[in-house]
């Protein structure tokens, strides 16, 4: 279970998050929707442990324990995974090498045995197949020259391989055409389960047709301003965010 309590965050003295309260129980999928600049991406980075953010108040608990003092690697080992909106290119590092390093680093941190190379290859290849990631892609530099769809599939592949309990998907639908959206969503849905929570951050309702959330939160000006069921996403699609922007102002 992820609990965010009265979270206040500033960047260079500028308040971005102004008291976020949010709980994602075990096994549930929640969506956060909101206009650009409402602090959605900041929230995802803060949960994942990126520097450059000052947490001035509040706490983030994962399974009852604060993760604020943990570095990003410790958080992913604890089970909190962020799929990036803009995955980063690392030239010269073969994707396969990166995946292997990541898997074994996480396994080591979890006191699990490191996988042998053949076991590793089998695991990666079978998951890759489900996400239509071609073997050729695994040989290329990580995210280098990948299309938008390929990058997002790679994020979901990493998510599947690192076996997190909490998945945060930051605008996973951005830059995807309809076919890519379907493949990525199927990949995400395959990972849904009673032991895994998800926080799906998106600007558009479209993604939520594929990944149907248990709850939808509307975020504006660094706060959760409304919470409802999946139908709330449809309402937003009709009315837009204008109402909430005014509320916040």
């Amino acid at each position: 279970m992820l609990e965010i309590k009265n979270l206040h965050v500033e960047v260079e003295g500028q308040p971005i998050l102004n008291g976020i309260d949010l709980t994602v129980p075990k096994g549930e999928v929640h969506a956060i929707m909101g206009p650009n600049g409402s602090g959605k991406s900041t929230l995802s980075y803060v949960i994942a442990g990126k520097d450059d953010y000052d947490i001035t108040k509040g706490d983030i608990l994962w399974n009852g324990e604060s993760i604020l003092e943990m570095d990003p690697a410790e958080r992913v080992a604890a089970g909190v995974f962020l799929a990036f909106q803009y995955p980063i290119e690392i030239p010269g590092v073969a994707t396969m090498t990166f995946l292997r390093t990541a898997i074994n680093s996480v396994r080591k941190a979890r006191d699990e045995e490191e996988l042998s190379i053949p076991d590793m290859m089998k695991l990666i290849q079978s998951q890759a197949k489900q996400l239509a990631v071609k073997p050729e892609m695994l040989k290329r530099g990580l995210n280098v020259g990948f299309s938008g769809g390929e990058k997002k599939r790679m994020e979901i592949l990493q998510m599947a391989l690192l076996n997190p309990g909490m998945c945060i998907l930051d605008e996973t639908d951005s830059g995807l055409d309809i076919d890519a959206l379907r493949i990525v969503s199927e990949g995400v849905n395959a990972l849904r389960g009673p032991d895994r929570s998800m926080l799906v951050i998106t600007h558009y309702q479209r993604l939520l047709n594929y990944i149907v959330p248990d709850k939808v939160h509307v975020m504006s000006d660094g706060k959760i301003v409304k919470t409802g069921g999946k139908e709330l996403a449809l309402e937003l699609e009709e009315s837009g965010y204008a109402e909430y922007d005014e509320d916040a102002a």
């Binding site: 442990g49 570095d71 990003p72 992913v76 995974f81 990036f84 990541a102």
Partner: protein, 489 residues
């Protein structure tokens, strides 16, 4: 492959935290007194039972050296060594006459084991076809053990210490020694010519493809011992050899001087591939101690269609002054230089290459990857020149620098001289920093800071790492990580 795997396993087993190769071996040493004069030169020559012509050669070099001054053009700042305060000859006592590995001081073998050197175990026990590495292990100044001699002999390959070559193959030494790096070439090379202690000698006969990678591990052990290795490799017509050189040194408080000379000669249609991994003690975090590495390495593509390829991974030493070069004398000859130079802490590197195009239709390629971290300084210095007769000379140079942190520096000093209008020289250079985004991304996937840096830097240097023989690849990737420990955060 088994031998390769064992090597990799052994390297893994070495507990490599910071500079963990900082141990010394307690073996009795035979030393010449401190300081340098004509008597010392005579002592060395006598100790090695050299012929008279060799002594004359050394004495001539010594006379010339006395008139020379240390070069000061490099982008390096250091206290010049006191040449009268060094030992010029030190040999482990136990080396007087081991005929086989069994006779070698076990403590010595243990040192190698700690370093993960596949000497006895891998070479002898594994006995695997295709993946063999013969080692002419150099312990301080004297070659101790040479393995695989018999098999090499079958192929007609000569691989021995240079002192042995002087006795057994004087005609080859007299014909080739000092023909690439003349004895008065530069201050350090001349000093080496006068006092060189030992090193490797390789001769590959015409048409022979050397059946295995040849490898020498250097290790500076005795306190205050100047190291003056001399290596000479000759690839006769139509032959091929790949040679590996790797080094580590124990932790010391005093600066240690190393001034090696390596000469390569490739005759018609011959190819030499020379790979180095250098990991000498770089000094502590304040720059105290550390090896001074002033090396002259030069290859002569003497024959037509010959090729010489240098690959170097420089991670150690307090001071590195090193420019493995190619003289492209033969028509259609090719020179290559692939380099990874990593500096961290207070290290200073001034390294690069010279590609001297003399023959027609010669080509050269330079790929240099400099990585600076800590408060270090990393300079690429390269010369590409085309003689007026070198028509259609071609060069491609790529110099990339990667900075980690904001206290280090990277410099690129390319010299280009084309005296021939048909020459085509290309130069590309980039300077970049490891971005916070890359670091965060890798960390968000479970890598700690040091793993993330090592991975990103290995990616940056990949083009060069791929040039290394299999035996060195895994070791190098590990070394890169070790060298950059503590460079972030």
């Amino acid at each position: 492959m088994a031998a390769v795997k064992e090597t990799v396993e052994q390297v893994k087993d070495i507990d490599v935290d910071k500079y963990k190769y900082g141990f010394t071996t307690d073996i009795e040493m035979v030393k010449a007194p401190k300081g340098l004069n004509e008597d010392i030169v005579r002592f060395i020559s006598e100790k090695k039972e050299e012929p008279a012509w060799m002594l004359e050669w050394r004495l001539d070099a010594f006379e010339r050296w006395k008139t020379m001054a240390e070069p000061e053009w490099a982008n390096l700042t250091y206290k010049k060594p006191d040449f009268q305060d060094l030992y010029y000859y030190a040999a482990p006592k136990s080396t007087e006459g081991p005929k086989s590995l069994d006779e070698v001081d076990p403590e010595l073998l243990e040192t190698y084991a700690k370093l993960g050197i596949p000497l006895k175990e891998q070479a002898v026990l594994a006995g695997v076809e295709g993946a063999r590495v013969a080692i002419d292990a150099v312990f301080d100044s004297v070659s101790v053990v040479t393995t695989f001699k018999d098999e090499l002999a079958k192929a007609g390959v000569i691989f021995c210490s240079i002192s042995e070559a002087m006795r057994e193959h004087p005609e080859l030494i007299q014909k080739y020694l000092g023909t690439v790096v003349p004895k008065s070439d530069n201050f350090y090379a001349t000093l080496n010519s006068a006092v060189f202690s030992d090193g490797s000698f390789v001769y590959i006969p015409p048409g022979v493809r050397c059946p295995m990678e040849l490898s020498t591990y250097f290790r500076i052990n005795e306190e205050n011992t100047g190291q003056f290795e001399r290596t000479l490799i000759i690839a006769d017509k139509g032959s091929y050899v790949s040679y590996l050189e790797g080094c580590t040194a124990p932790m010391r408080d005093e600066n240690q001087l190393h001034a090696a000379v390596v000469e390569l000669i490739a005759l018609d249609d011959a190819e030499i591939k020379y790979s180095t991994v250098q990991n000498w003690y770089p000094g502590d975090k304040d720059g105290k101690g550390g090896v001074f590495n002033f090396v002259t390495k030069r290859g002569d593509c003497r024959g037509k269609n010959s090729k010489i390829s240098w690959t170097q991974v420089e991670t150690g030493s307090a001071i590195t002054w090193k420019y493995p070069s190619c003289i492209l004398r033969g028509d259609n000859s090719q020179g290559e230089f692939y380099s990874i130079a990593i500096s961290n802490g207070m290290q200073q590197v001034d390294s690069g290459t010279k590609m001297v195009h003399l023959g027609k239709n010669t080509s050269s390629r330079i790929i240099s990857k400099g990585i600076s971290a800590g408060k270090s300084s990393n300079t690429y210095r390269g010369l590409v020149s085309a003689h007026r007769k070198a028509s259609q000379a071609r060069n491609f140079t790529q110099c990339d620098s990667l900075l980690i942190g904001d206290l280090c520096s990277a410099h690129t000093v390319p010299y280009i001289e084309a005296k021939n209008s048909s020459a085509t020289f290309e130069h590309e250079a980039t300077t970049s920093k490891i971005s916070d985004d890359q670091m965060f991304y890798a960390q968000a996937r479970g890598l700690n800071e040091e793993e993330a840096v090592a991975l990103i830097v290995n990616g940056f240097a990949r083009e060069v790492i791929q040039q290394l023989p299999m035996e060195f690849m895994a070791e190098t990737q590990k070394l890169i990580g070790i060298s950059l420990e503590g460079s972030v955060g």
